[in-house]
């Protein structure tokens, strides 16, 4: 091996990279680590697609008629989106622990960039992969016979609810990943965070069907609001799910209120996750 090296030459001060360029670099890095093969993209879809294609139709056949104008199979198919988003974003948090335990995190911390970008780069990839999976899920459900009422406005309500839920849940994932010492502890916590709320958020039945105390609690879950918004957008155009939460008459107002709840959840959790990361990363 040669021992001599070319001496570094020009040392003109480089301009500081603006935030977009390092964010793009961090996003590309995370994407390369997360989705190296199609298997890594599509295996997480198996359970929700099974739900949408097999369990939802079977439940619809068993339960039969639901609310007037609402197809139960489509109702459950949309509920699977409310399962897929928390599961996918929570599992993205494992990458944060791997980075810390055996990855390049310290090199990234030593980089001349604002450290919140490290969180935002991870968030961008979790968001993009979740969005892709939601599109695949909805397409599969439609092919299986789910009856979506697609309008531009409805699609925006759906996208808004799903997007803010994904951002907020990634904030939860990043926060937890920076608080627990090992992957094992993290994985043990995932069902409690990603799955348990799903049962109380009006996924398989309306919130109003729950006992009064649980229904009251369900109204505080961001997932309840996100699911009601997603259904308002693509299925429940009268906003009966939103009425179960807010008890008002104007669906647009109720949808705006629920969107505000999910948006506030997203903003809060991203802020908390950045703060927890920067405190945990620098000892």
């Amino acid at each position: 091996m040669a021992a001599t090296l070319t001496a570094p030459t020009a040392r003109a001060a480089r301009p500081a990279p603006r935030w977009f360029a390092p964010l793009a670099t961090l996003t590309r890095r995370r994407f390369a680590l997360t989705a190296r093969t199609p298997r890594e993209l599509f295996v997480p879809l198996l359970t929700p697609i099974l739900f949408a294609l097999v369990i939802a139709p079977a439940l619809a056949k068993t339960v039969g008629s639901f609310r007037p104008g609402i197809d139960y199979m489509t109702f459950v198919a949309l509920a699977t989106a409310g399962l897929l988003i928390p599961l996918n974003t929570m599992f993205s948090g494992i990458g944060v622990i791997v980075d810390r335990e055996s990855g390049a995190r310290r090199d990234l911390l030593a980089a001349p960039i604002p450290r919140p970008l490290l969180v935002l780069g991870n968030l961008a990839v979790a968001f993009a992969i979740t969005a892709l999976q939601i599109v695949v899920l909805i397409a599969a459900a439609a092919l299986r016979g789910a009856e979506f009422h697609v309008t531009t406005t409805g699609a925006l309500w759906f996208a808004g609810g799903a997007a803010f839920l994904a951002v907020g849940m990634y904030g939860v994932a990043e926060t937890l990943a920076n608080r627990v010492p090992s992957v094992e502890e993290y994985i043990a916590a995932v069902p409690a965070i990603a799955i348990v709320p799903w049962f109380f958020a009006g996924s398989l039945f309306p919130v109003s069907s729950l006992p009064a105390g649980l229904a009251w609690i369900a109204r505080f879950l961001p997932l309840t609001h996100a699911l009601a918004l997603m259904r308002y957008g693509l299925l429940d155009t009268n906003g009966t799910g939103l009425r179960d939460i807010w008890g008002m008459h104007d669906p647009t107002v109720m949808a705006l209120l629920s969107l505000a709840v999910v948006a506030a959840f997203a903003a809060l959790m991203v802020t908390v996750s950045i703060r927890v990361f920067t405190r945990a990363a620098v000892r």
Partner: protein, 314 residues
């Protein structure tokens, strides 16, 4: 000339009260290779952590190229590169991908990054490895990749935290050649930590000996060794080394530089010949286990300053 690294009363106390660094001061001049020498737990890596802004100082201040690491951390990080003690790479990605990511984060444009990767791949023996996932690299290959990666941005200050620890001897000497080559270029200031004496002697222009969070000596290795003379006599006695040392001093065989640790006595010989001193010791009738002569090492300096051997402490 303005020092590139300025450290004043730098202190780190971890939660729980562990005082890792207890108010250290030093300057490193441009182009200098400066070593922090000490055993594991002496506070060397914590010092590098504070200088690279990955550990928050409890007190004191430090500047890199004039930038305060506490108040101007991004500017301080921009002028530095670091190779950490533990592997810090994305193992699932290729070597090239690891290097490209680093270059982009340090603001090196794509064209220049590609040129620098090509320039560094050959001398670091990475040319045939760059397209392989880092998970398939040996320890030495991975360490070479990390050093090459740190050089991509042409840092003014390069931190090397125990760069050869855990490597087999052959790889270690190859790496020392590489690091020596970096130091000889004279264009970059290098701060390295090590608990290997030969590394410090071979690579460093100056060395700070760190013991329990404090710098106990700081000078060029040659100057530190000069205090012990050209040769030393090492003596092991039955019983207390202090009593034997007193006897040697009373008879003028040892002076104030001699010291005892347990049953071992180290007698620097600035002027006298070793044969003469050994003969005089034999004439005193001390209960000696062994007696030998050798050239002094930094371990003797460390032993005199701290009362323990560096190898044993590490």
């Amino acid at each position: 000339m303005q020092p590139v690294i300025e450290v004043r009363n730098l202190t780190k106390t971890y939660p729980g009260g562990v005082e890792a660094v207890k108010g250290i001061d030093f300057d490193v001049e441009p182009g200098e290779v400066f070593g922090l020498l000490g055993p594991n737990g002496a506070g060397k890596s914590t010092t590098i952590g504070m200088l690279t802004t990955t550990i928050a100082p409890t007190d004191g201040e430090a500047r890199l190229a004039g930038f305060d690491v506490a108040t101007e951390p991004i500017a301080a990080r921009r002028v530095s590169g670091v190779v950490f003690q533990d592997p810090v790479v994305d193992r699932a990605l290729t070597g090239r991908r690891n290097m490209e990511t680093h270059a982009r984060l340090w603001g090196v444009d794509a064209g220049r990054a590609a040129r620098r990767v090509a320039e560094l791949a050959e001398p670091f023996g990475l040319a045939q490895l760059l397209e392989r996932p880092v998970a398939s690299y040996s320890g030495g290959q991975r360490r070479r990749l990390e050093i090459a990666r740190a050089l991509l941005s042409d840092p003014r200050v390069l931190f090397l935290d125990e760069p050869t620890v855990g490597l087999d001897p052959r790889i270690r000497y190859e790496l020392l050649d590489l690091i020596g080559g970096l130091g000889e270029s004279g264009d970059m200031t290098i701060l390295l930590t090590t608990h290997y004496l030969d590394e410090a002697e071979r690579l460093c222009d100056r060395v700070a000996i760190v013991h329990e969070g404090r710098i106990v000596a700081m000078d060029a290795p040659r100057s530190l060794l000069a205090g012990l003379g050209r040769e030393i006599v090492e003596l092991r006695v039955h019983g207390s080394g202090d009593a034997a040392l007193d006897a040697l001093r009373r008879h003028g065989v040892a002076n104030g530089d001699a010291f005892a640790v347990g049953g071992s006595l180290t007698i620097p010989l600035p002027d006298s010949s070793s044969a003469e001193v050994v003969a005089r010791i034999a004439g005193l009738g001390l209960a000696t286990e062994s007696i030998s002569t050798r050239v002094p090492t930094l371990d003797d300096v460390y032993l005199r300053l701290t009362g323990s051997r560096l190898d044993a402490a590490a």
